[in-house]
Amino acid sequence: MTRAELRTNEPTIADRAYRIRRNALRMGEVQGQGYIAQALDIADVLAVAYFHAMRYRPEDPAWEERDRFLLSNGHYAIALYAALIEAGIVPEAELETYGSDESRLPMSGMASYTPGMEMSGGSLGLGLSIAVGMCLGLKRKGSDSRVFTLFSDGELDEGSKWEAMMSAAHYGLDNLVAIVDVNNQQADGPSKQMMGFEPLADKIRAFGWFVQRIDGNDLDAVVAAFDAAKNHEGARPRMIIADTLMGKGVPFLERRERNHFMRVDQHEWQLALQALEHGRRA
């Protein structure tokens, strides 16, 4: 096989996003439930993070020179596991154990359980503060590794998020890339109705960040945003506000009544996998 052929056979970022969604659906089926709609909405962002932006070694998740990824919204663990499996950090066989006793893939992500999981989330609002400390530590060490952290729009209600935003700008943390998933859905209902946070980009910009707002399900836009976050020259932390569609890639789930914890009937998982496959070919 020639080099050109090898390159052609390499999965595209779109392939990666598809497989992350497929892995997530397969895990959802194991539990018969899960935060599947969120996993589907954030798959594109994770595909770009793990297959375009971040530096890591699958065989050595604790490699000192890796970029760190902090999952603040621990209930998105199903999505991150799907990405870690695709990245070769977690073996695909473990997918069948998701959320089961003795599994390394608990329903809510914890650092002590899973290779590649850098923090214990779940109690919402923690990640950005940890990220600030990691970024300070990396700068102390003279490391050029970066810290990526994902959090949900509901977490914007937590005061700690704003404490952390203020401090990240104060310390000029240009090694920090935060991504907020604006899917406009939190536990009690539409996020913007629970506690209004708009105009979000203006607010975070006023806090001293380099802010981009994008369609988080437009892969080209996501790639461009991660590139711009990397190439920006200001000594400022970077925020990517990703507007996403819950259930993205599975039309009948995209249309389903919005729910934080989406009910999917047992027979629907295979239908969802088929719909995902169908959408990919179309």
């Binding site: 779940g122 503060s129 005061g159 401090s167």
Partner: protein
């Protein structure tokens, strides 16, 4: 008892009335031997050799003696603003990168405001974070906002957390390197400013996890920690006048508890066991000792000196310590009534 920092005014009845001391007032009694800023100075000394040590605070550097460290190592000092949740989350992050942060604030803010951050980002992840908190128990006259009467109960209940309640300046100096050598999170109750110096007279050496018998006596056994060990030692001396011979077992490590030494000391027949702590009677040293004795089937006569289960008053510390039974005089009175 009167502290050096309390001033007198004259009340309406013409009776001298103590005023609430400044927030950073020393807990030392007038004329008592003290050492300045033992925590800050010990940390500076240790940090000269341990380059992994950094200092972090939330707008309380001056009030926790961390300013001594900040002055010596300005580039290793992180001011996180008045934001305790951020403080402890960031401490977890910097520890994850291999540093050993010594983190200071007031005990109320660590134990109450930032509890979940310490629980999840530090204890659950077993991060190597050292927490040193001023104004533990009843060491402020500012009322419940600054009185951490329940900090030991809260941190004892947190898995992975080591909990230390030092008595004096000597012990704090020795506890700082011991905390740094221990792998994992530690919570230490901090006495700051001019801190009483007591334990040097007893040839004392702090060992993490070890209780130490400071004096022996056949009638009463005080089992105490922190500030109340100092009081127990004073009470033991005063009780000699009433022909009551009191022993003092100092238990600076609240968790893990030196159950063996405690049970052994309490097993001696004929002694009234009095647990004394600068903490609410709920969930602190008293209940820990009682439960250890029950499990060991050792059942001495048992009493417990601690703060009542109520929101404590504002006022001058000596007045409050008298009122709530943790002054030397109050302890002597109580022990005599139980004998």
């Amino acid at each position: 008892m009167k502290t050096a920092n309390n001033t007198m005014t004259t009340g309406s009845a013409g009776k001298p009335r103590l005023t609430t001391s400044a927030m950073i007032a020393s807990i030392a009694a007038e004329g008592q031997r003290t050492k300045p800023a033992p925590f800050g100075n010990a940390l500076v000394e240790l940090a000269r050799e341990r380059h992994d040590i950094v200092g972090m605070t939330a707008d309380l550097g001056k009030y926790t003696d961390l300013h001594v460290f900040a002055k010596e190592f300005p580039d290793r000092y992180y001011q996180m603003g008045m934001a305790e949740q951020l403080l402890f989350g960031a401490a977890s992050g910097i520890a994850a990168e291999g540093f050993t942060p010594f983190v200071t604030t007031y005990a109320v803010f660590a134990a109450r405001r930032a509890y979940d951050f310490i629980h999840q980002t530090i204890a659950e992840e077993d991060r190597n974070v050292k927490i040193a908190c001023a104004l533990p128990g009843l060491t402020s006259g500012y009322g419940p906002s600054h009185q951490a009467a329940e900090d030991l109960a809260l941190f004892r209940a947190m898995p992975n957390m080591t909990v230390i309640d030092p008595c004096d300046a000597l012990e704090i100096e020795q506890a700082v390197p011991a905390m740094a050598s221990h792998q994992g999170p530690v919570y230490m109750r901090l006495l700051r400013g001019q801190v009483p110096l007591v334990l040097d007279e007893y040839g004392y050496k702090f060992e993490l996890g070890k209780a130490k018998l400071l004096r022996d006596g056949a009638d009463v056994l005080f089992v105490s920690s922190g500030l109340l060990t100092m009081r127990a030692l004073e009470a033991a001396r005063q009780l000699e006048a009433d022909k009551i011979r009191a022993a003092v077992l100092h238990v600076p490590t609240i968790k893990p508890l030196d159950t063996e030494a405690i049970v052994e000391a309490c097993r001696k027949p004929g002694r009234l066991v009095v647990v004394a702590e600068n903490h609410t009677v709920i969930g602190g040293l008293g209940e820990a000792v009682a439960s250890a004795l029950m499990r060991a089937r050792v059942h001495p006569a048992f009493q417990h000196i601690g703060l009542p289960d109520e929101f404590l008053a504002a006022g001058a510390l000596p007045t409050l310590h008298d009122r709530y039974g943790i002054s030397t005089e109050a302890i002597c009175t109580a022990v005599k009534s139980w004998r």
